[in-house]
Each structure stands twice: as structure tokens, then as C-alpha cells.
């Protein structure tokens, strides 16, 4: 699903440049549930953003669903994002003046789906994250956990191949963290590839594979207990 070879990425800082990713090799197959761990500033978000086509890499190869990502124009990137990827952010990134239902339906709008159908499907996904009754509430009327579930519903509504989550539980307490992780597990059980950044061991343990990053390099890549149990 995702294949990364010798990936490099630097950020220009004034005249200098900051070398953040220093040759990453990573292969994630369809249906995997992978977490990335690493200290702050180790390049986790940078990697996820490149995978999510929100940013571009400098060197190396990146294949998404077998397609080499190179010199992609913004229009093609937008279409690929809409078709293959679903995003969940730490800060939820809901649109404040749209209701939960409208937020969930938005990716379908960019897919070109008719409004009625769109809202129907969005409602189904809201039910799935147990927020059916909250459909017509604005984000600021929802709790953090509820907002993140809306964001997850929005990420899922286009049936993407990969869900990318950058510290989805970073702003949540432990109870809501569990409910969000349960949701991600369910998604993965349905066959979707899930790629999640976290710095909490408890969260990483619930995924099937942990990749550890340090100073822009992968220092370990192994299956978790859950992962081993499932594969056996």
C-alpha cells in the first residue's frame, strides 16, 4: 500500500537547512495497523505529511498504492487524497461553522456526490461513531472526544484505503483515548490500513506494528503483542 525507499526531507531555515528525514525505508501493506513512535522533533509528522501528500519529499521514492509519487501537481494530489487517504489530526481540524454532519459530508462534496446522498452517508458514519444524535451540532458544542470521533467519521466517509492519524489522542483524556482507539481498531478490522503517530506506549500497544523513529532514522520496527497474536 505504502512503500518508501531512502526518503530524505530537509526544511530550509534561513540560509541553512534542517535535515529531518535521513533515509527512511518503510513498507506498509494493505490492512496493516501501524504506529510511529519517537520523541518530539524526531520527524514523525514530517513523514506522515509526506505519506499524506500534504508535503513533498526531497529524495528517495514513495509509492502510494503502487503509483510513484513524483512531481505531482496539486490537482492530482487533491484527487489522490480524496480517493485514497483519510486524515485525523490532533487538533481535530473541523470547520467551525459547519455542523458535525456537514463536516463529515465535506469530502464527499469534493468527490462530486449529490447533497442528499452525501448527507445520508455522512449520517451513517456519524451513527457508526455513535454521534447520530449530534449530527446538527456545531463543533464547539461537542467535547474533545466527540470532535475527534466526528473527524474520524469524516476520514472514513470516502472509504479511503489508508487512514493517517497524527496523534489523534494527543488532546484527549484516557477514557476518550480508549474509545478513539477502539474505533481505529474497528476500522482496521474492516480491512483499512491505519497509520497512526503517537508518543503514548499504551496507544502504540493497541496497534499491530510499532515503528520507532530517532533523529530522522528508523531505529526499530517490530510487531506488538497484539500484532503477533493476530498473525499467529
Amino acid at each position: 500500500m505504502i512503500r518508501i525507499e531512502k526518503l530524505h526531507k530537509s526544511y530550509p531555515i534561513g540560509k541553512d537547512s534542517l535535515h529531518v528525514l535521513k533515509g527512511i525505508d518503510l513498507h506498509i501493506k494493505e490492512g496493516e495497523f501501524v504506529s510511529i513512535m519517537g520523541s518530539s522533533g524526531s520527524g514523525k509528522s514530517t513523514l506522515l505529511n509526506i505519506v499524506g501528500l500534504l508535503d513533498v519529499h526531497d529524495e528517495g521514492n514513495y509509492y502510494l498504492n503502487g503509483q510513484l509519487i513524483k512531481d505531482l501537481n496539486e490537482k492530482k494530489a487533491a484527487i489522490l487524497r480524496n480517493k485514497f487517504l483519510g486524515f485525523v489530526f490532533q487538533s481535530f481540524n473541523l470547520i467551525s461553522y459547519k455542523t458535525a454532519l456537514e463536516n463529515v459530508a465535506l469530502p464527499l462534496y469534493y468527490k462530486g456526490m449529490a447533497r442528499k446522498e452525501r448527507l445520508k452517508i455522512a449520517q451513517e458514519y456519524l451513527e457508526k461513531v455513535e454521534l447520530g444524535p449530534w449530527a446538527n451540532h456545531l463543533p464547539n458544542e461537542l467535547s474533545g472526544g466527540q470532535k475527534q470521533r466526528v473527524a474520524i467519521a469524516r476520514a472514513l466517509v470516502t472509504k479511503p484505503k489508508v487512514v493517517l492519524a497524527d496523534e489523534p489522542t494527543g488532546a484527549l483524556d484516557s477514557t476518550t483515548t480508549d474509545s478513539v482507539m477502539d474505533l481505529l481498531k474497528d476500522i482496521n478490522d474492516e480491512g483499512m490500513t491505519v497509520f497512526v503517530i503517537t508518543h503514548e506506549e499504551e496507544v502504540a500497544e493497541q496497534t499491530k506494528r510499532v515503528v520507532r523513529l530517532k533523529d530522522g532514522l528508523i531505529i526499530s520496527d517490530e510487531l506488538t503483542a497484539t500484532g503477533k497474536a493476530k498473525t499467529v
Binding site: N49, L54, V56, E74, K75, R81, F87, N93, Y110
Partner: protein, 414 residues
């Protein structure tokens, strides 16, 4: 173009407008004010122009009036302060010498007399005239007709009286035509009743009788009190006035530089001044209106730019969810066009309303100062289309700004 008819497009615009009520209102007011000002100023200018036109409307505007006064310079053995009169000979000479320039030449004799009808009477002016007077200043007839060539040739004792004379001398509802009035003890048959112009009026309430009849009755022989000259189109009326006066000075042995001997009024010159004023005002109107419009459009561009900056993050989110740069651009431009259109329409409606109020307040009645203050539909349409085009162009800038940043940079914005 399909996206224009997509209810979702409008849903999105409605959402963003509803979210930004204040800035939407400010934007709309900016453009609204521009087009409102343009409509009202143009309408008012038109109204003023109409009023001036009405003022001179029934007068041939390229006319010169000439009369005699007294000389201010001794000449050819004559003392200064000599009085003299115009004659029919002058009329003939002018007619033949200026046949190219002069269109109409009306000699006139006037006096004041008691006019009697049965037991009623009043003091009025009596004027001996040719039918061409009607061409120089159109007479609005309430009854009957104006003088004609037949009256002149037959030296008929007929009179065309004013509306006020009719009211003063006749019974209410009495039919005036064919009745007789006495002027200076001589009976005249009334052949017409006219309504005097309430604007430019040199005759006042006046009974018009044939020039020939006047000459015979008042024994004026060759004498002419004054004359009205109307120039042919394309004639330099000021030059013609100078030439005519010079010829007349020659005929009457007046010094060529004598300033007082002849009095004259050049209506064309007077009107020229006013026309210049109106043109100046129209120019100013356009200038102010267009400048305001442009300022309004820039306000839209500016506010959209601010909005785009404010909404960088939102745009980033939308792009992460699959919004193409084109769809983002379309939305911003459409928002710009939509706002300018709404503002423009409101401006036109409000402007028309104000023009309507102006019309009600100043445009009605006899001495209206702003008659029919209107704007041409094509002019407004052009202004409107320009507005929309400018709205689109100015919307391109923020739309471009919204899509040049990488989605991740937009998302990082707080």
C-alpha cells in the same frame, strides 16, 4: 460552468457568508455606496439638464435679440446720445446680406393698451408679430390657432390672447374663439388663446396681432421696435451677432465701436455657459462615481484577501479532504462576484428609490428644479457588468494566494 448551477456551490458560499456577517456587510456597503452614488449623481445631473432644457425648451436656443438704445460716441456730425429706431429697411438688408446665416428674422412692435371685453377690462401688452414668431418660441395654444400669413396679407383685425387675459376678460367656460375684444377702441376677433411659457418669457401676458395690422392701427410706418434673429444650424452665432450689429451700425451712421447704440442678447451664448456647466457636472459625476466604484471593488478584494488569510487553515483542511485548487479558486471568485452583484443590485435599487423620492420632491409642478431624474439602463448595465468583471479580477488575487501555499503550511496556520 456547471458548478454555477450546483446548489452545493451556493450552500458553501452561504455558509462562508453567514460565518463572516460583519465583513460581508462592510464589503457590500463599499460597493453599494459606489453604485448608489453613481446612480443618484447621474440621475440628478440628468434632472438638472432636463430642467435647463425645459427652461429653454420652447425657445430656439440659437437666437439673438437686437434693439436700439442711444449712441455713446459722436459720429458723422451726430451728437452722442442720439436716439434712433430700427426700420423695415434694416430687416430687408439683413435678410439679403445674411441669407446663409439667418434662418428666421422676426421684426416686432409692441405697446401697452387697455383691452376691453363687454364690461371687463385690463391693461395688457399688445404685440405686432409675424407668424414665424411661433417658430422662434413655440406657442402652446389652448384654443384656436396662432397668426398666419393670411392675417398678415389681409391686415386682419385678429388677436391671439394669453390664458390670463382670457380668464380676466371672459366668463367662466365661455368659448373665446370668434368673440370680439376691443383694443384701443378697435374691435379684434379672438382667434387663439395661448399659455405663456413660465420659464423664459420675453413677452409676458401679451395679445398678438398681425404685424401689418399693428403698423396700420398704431401708425408705426417703417419703424421696428426690436427683432429676433434665429441662426441656421452650424452658424457661429457670436460671430453672426457681431456682424449683424456692425451692418446695423453702418445703416444708422453709428460709430463702429459704439457700445451703447444697440442692445442685444445672445441666447446661444447664455445657453452655452449653462451647457458647459452641465457637461462639467456630468464629468464630475462620472469621475466621483467611478472612483467610488473602483474603491468599492478594491475594498472587496482587500476584504477577500483578509478572509483568505483568516481562512487559510480552513482552506488547508478542505485541501486535505480533497478540494482541488480549482474548486477553491472558484469558490473565492464566485463569492467575490456574488457579493459585488448583490451590492450592485442593492445600490441600483436604493439609487432608483432616492431618484424616485427626488422626483417626487423636486421633479413635479411648474417650477421643478430636477425634472425626470433618470439614468440610462445601458449606462447602468455597463457599470454593473464592469463591476462584476472587476469583482472577478480582484477576486483572482486572493484566490491565487489561497492555492499557492502547500496544504501542510495552510494546516499549520493557527
Amino acid at each position: 460552468m456547471k458548478f454555477l448551477f450546483d446548489s452545493d456551490t451556493w450552500q458553501e458560499i452561504y455558509g462562508s457568508i453567514r460565518k463572516n456577517k460583519v465583513r460581508t456587510a462592510i464589503t457590500i456597503i463599499g460597493v453599494l455606496w459606489g453604485i448608489f452614488l453613481l446612480v443618484v449623481l447621474l440621475g440628478a445631473a440628468r434632472g438638472l439638464e432636463n430642467s435647463f432644457n425645459k427652461l429653454f425648451g420652447n425657445f430656439a436656443t440659437n437666437s439673438v435679440f437686437v434693439w436700439t438704445q442711444s449712441t455713446d460716441t459722436p459720429f458723422k456730425g451726430f451728437q452722442e446720445g442720439r436716439r434712433f429706431t430700427l426700420t423695415m429697411n434694416d430687416i430687408d438688408v439683413l435678410k439679403s446680406e445674411y441669407s446663409d446665416e439667418i434662418k428666421l428674422l422676426a421684426p416686432r412692435n409692441q405697446t401697452n393698451n387697455l383691452i376691453i371685453k363687454d364690461f371687463k377690462s385690463g391693461d395688457f401688452r399688445v404685440s405686432g408679430d409675424y407668424p414665424i414668431l411661433d417658430q422662434i418660441q413655440k406657442k402652446q395654444l389652448l384654443y384656436g390657432r396662432f397668426l398666419n400669413q393670411n392675417d398678415i396679407l389681409s391686415i386682419a383685425k385678429v388677436a391671439v390672447i394669453s390664458e390670463d387675459m382670457y380668464k380676466q376678460l371672459f366668463e367662466i367656460n365661455e368659448f373665446p374663439i370668434g368673440q370680439y375684444i376691443k383694443i384701443n377702441s378697435i374691435s379684434y376677433k379672438v382667434i387663439g388663446v395661448y399659455k405663456p411659457s413660465n420659464t423664459v418669457n420675453f413677452d409676458g401676458d401679451c395679445a398678438y396681432i398681425p404685424f401689418t395690422t399693428f403698423r396700420k392701427v398704431y401708425n408705426t410706418a417703417n419703424k421696428v421696435d426690436w427683432m429676433m434673429i434665429t441662426a441656421n444650424e452650424g452658424t457661429d452665432i457670436e460671430q453672426m451677432e457681431k456682424d449683424v450689429l456692425l451692418t446695423l451700425k453702418g445703416l444708422h451712421k453709428v460709430h463702429p465701436d459704439d457700445e451703447r447704440a444697440f442692445g442685444s442678447v445672445n441666447l446661444g451664448k447664455e445657453i452655452g455657459k449653462i451647457t458647459g456647466f452641465i457637461i462639467g457636472m456630468q464629468f464630475l459625476t462620472w469621475f466621483v462615481g467611478i472612483a467610488t466604484l473602483i474603491a468599492g471593488v478594491f475594498a472587496i478584494g482587500n476584504i477577500l484577501l483578509i478572509t483568505v488569510k483568516e481562512r487559510t487553515k480552513e482552506i488547508g483542511i478542505r485541501r486535505a479532504l480533497g478540494a482541488t485548487p480549482k474548486s477553491i479558486r472558484q469558490q473565492i471568485i464566485l463569492e467575490s462576484v456574488f457579493l459585488t452583484t448583490i451590492a450592485g443590485m442593492l445600490g441600483i435599487i436604493l439609487g432608483s428609490l432616492v431618484l424616485f423620492l427626488i422626483d417626487t420632491a423636486f421633479g413635479q409642478g411648474e417650477d421643478a428644479t430636477l425634472i425626470n431624474p433618470t439614468v440610462n439602463i445601458p449606462i447602468i448595465l455597463i457599470a454593473f457588468v464592469t463591476l462584476i468583471v472587476l469583482g472577478t479580477l480582484i477576486g483572482l488575487i486572493p484566490a491565487h494566494m489561497a492555492t499557492v501555499v502547500k496544504p501542510i503550511e495552510a494546516l499549520r496556520e493557527e
